[in-house]
Symmetry: C2
Subunit: 413 residues, 2 copies
């Protein structure tokens, strides 16, 4: 406080304030002053300490907001998630600078893919353990009932995926990108299937293998430290939860090859669960730089034309669960906030601030609707879909039933 | 029988027999002979009477099968739907000739659109009345339980559409392409909404208006004899069941304009119910020539990129009901078969054969999976979706409840 603010800074601050005022966000300078004249009460404040921050926010807000926040040169009052949400409602269109980086230029070959995954997922299993649910599921949960706990909602999600795939005892499943193994283990444990699960995160695979052994499921679940592109064999079902975002548009053809190889015409079905968009645009530049290198959230149409059509798959069912991801992130954010001191001590302030912003910003994006969460069920062309009516996903008891006989096909004649 | 078959005809017949043998279909010539050597028992026979038919089937089967069948120069033994299904499994890829007619060349301006609709839908209300359900619903039914009657399944479909839209009493709905008015009347009667329903079929509109008056619903449902492109005003919901197939790819932008005009940012939701494809390709050439001039069945991705993205809509839910359409068509086919003599007396043999083939061929296409039936729910970008979990579509009682408050949005904070 008491700091002197130059005339240039005050002039630039006025321009920035005009841009964010419609979102009811105040811009506060180091001397405590503000030129805010937007709706009252304001939903929160951005507090900036120097001219460089203001310039950065004017020129490339998508990247610079995160950079400045992470470095502690920008602060937020009134709830980080709330302010980020308000600001993000203003900027649905990508800035010209974001446009320069075409998603098609992202090349995630196998070496790069492994490095990208390592950057995020190998931060230490105990780090994730301290704020994820008890099964370590690091993807959108399914709050079947709005008052479910995070633990219950993650179990409900695992179950939803299995029901959508209509898994039957004795079937074989391949999973691409298996995290710490929760889904693979759930499928084997509760649905009696055999699973091959692929992942390129060393730490996750080690954790998953140990868990399979501890639960006596290691004969039915094989965790494989390899890239999705190297999946081989044929299976009754293919599933991938939260991996497509890391594949990159340029490599959707490789995923199509995998699908058409492992699910052959006339049998099988698959499910893709991924963060998506309504309109094609790159992910936030700061998130790609600091949190998820190489990531891209595709539209449903991009997945349909670049993965499912070339793989000759028929779309059976699509569900958009974005509000469930907003709630999942709210849970994660609250748990992360509770271990503030531990994270600070172990990883330092800029890491802590980066993750705080990433969780709050993602929650805002799903709540506002600038990010979507799609679950897509598909089967090879001309294959009988796994159910007659989707109500079967919700009303029938899991597992244990006889193989689905598709009785209607005969009955139609 | 006893007809002489030339050596040339026998040679051409051999080539055609080789093509269709994998589908277990025999080719029988006018003298009763066949060179069939495929799987036994064969699933049925094509009976041809002259060389021209064989040539036509070799050169352009998609068009010529229908033309020859309609003219009575080709007969089928063993069940028309079964044989057409078997043959259609062989020919998933369009023939080179079909490729020449790009879907983008189909220009359905308002005059042409009216003429196309007149061709099919103005055949006489009593014609349709004699084989449709009691409410005259001429789109895919929803057999919620597999043993439902056609009447029950059509009512279940109307209800499914209303539940997916989560209609609330007092809301306003616009319907594009309303047929004989069953959905519009159902929405007003059971969900207490006010409806404007558009259609360019004179006969259908007249019928619908009379029905509304008879039921005392004419103050709440307005039937408008006009093109979908002229829809104006703002509404809580947009719905279109079975019209998109008649719009044509070239005019998807006009539909996008309508959507973005009638559903504004931040409110409302819509549903498109249409016959679609897994991979882009024109409709069967014979169906376009004889049954549905100007028609095109788009992929989900084509609808997403050419209608929903330009209209700035977010996809909330997609369901593929193709097996329900196969069963609907089986019901229609059986009812149509039962009025064989009446149709023959009134419209003549070639009309009767054309319709018999159209119904059987469509049933086969949906059963095999060369046609799909998509229901897509969407809402303007950044609008809260109409439900938290889709189970609400199936478990809650229709209508009568208070307006949906989206409680989770607050609860997430």
């Amino acid at each position: 406080m008491g700091t002197r603010v130059s005339a240039v800074q005050r002039w630039l601050a006025g321009i920035l304030q005009d841009r964010i005022a419609p979102a009811a966000v105040r811009l506060e300078l180091a001397d405590g002053t503000s030129a805010y004249a937007g709706p009252e009460p304001a939903s929160g404040s951005l507090v900036v300490r120097d001219t460089r921050v203001i310039l950065g926010l004017l020129v490339n807000p998508h990247l610079y907001f995160g950079e400045a926040y992470m470095a502690g040169r920008l602060d937020v009052r009134g709830g980080l998630e709330r302010v980020v949400e308000a600001v993000s409602r203003l900027s649905l269109l990508p800035s010209p600078i974001e446009r320069i980086t075409s998603p098609l230029t992202i090349a995630n070959d196998q070496t790069r893919a492994r490095r990208n995954v390592h950057h995020h997922y190998d931060l230490g299993n105990d780090f994730y353990q301290s704020w994820l649910d008890d099964q370590m599921v690091y993807t959108c949960a399914y709050f079947e009932h709005p008052d479910m706990s995070l633990e219950e909602a993650q179990r409900a999600k695992l179950d939803l995926v299995c029901r959508k795939l209509r898994l039957q005892p004795g079937e074989t499943v391949v999973e691409a990108g298996c995290g710490w193994g929760a889904l693979a283990l759930h499928m084997a444990r509760s649905y009696g299937v055999r699973v091959k699960a692929f992942n390129v995160s060393r730490e996750q695979i080690a954790y998953a293998r140990e868990r399979a052994a501890r639960e006596g499921l290691d004969a039915r679940v094989e965790f494989i430290d390899d890239d999705y592109r190297n999946v081989d064999g044929e299976y009754d079902a293919f599933v991938s939860v939260g991996m497509l975002e890391h594949v990159g548009l340029k490599h959707f053809g490789s995923l199509a090859d995998v699908l058409s190889r492992v699910l052959r015409r006339g049998r099988g079905r698959g499910l893709l669960h991924f963060i998506g968009r309504d309109i094609p645009r790159p992910l936030n530049a700061w998130v790609v730089r600091r949190i998820f290198p190489g990531a891209y959230a595709p539209t449903l149409a991009e997945v349909a034309t670049k993965v499912l059509e070339p793989a000759r798959m028929s779309i059976i069912d699509v569900e958009n669960l974005r509000l469930h991801y907003a709630r999942t992130l709210a849970h994660w954010g609250a748990r992360f906030g509770a271990i503030h001191e531990t994270v600070l001590a172990r990883y330092g302030e800029s890491f802590r601030r980066a993750w705080e912003l990433y969780l709050a910003g993602s929650e805002a994006a799903f709540a506002v609707g600038s990010l979507q969460l799609f679950q897509v069920v598909f089967s090879p062309l001309e294959t009988a879909p796994p159910y007659w009516a989707r109500t079967e996903m919700y009303t029938e008891s899991p597992a244990g039933q006889g193989r689905h006989q598709l009785p209607w096909v005969a009955a139609t004649r």
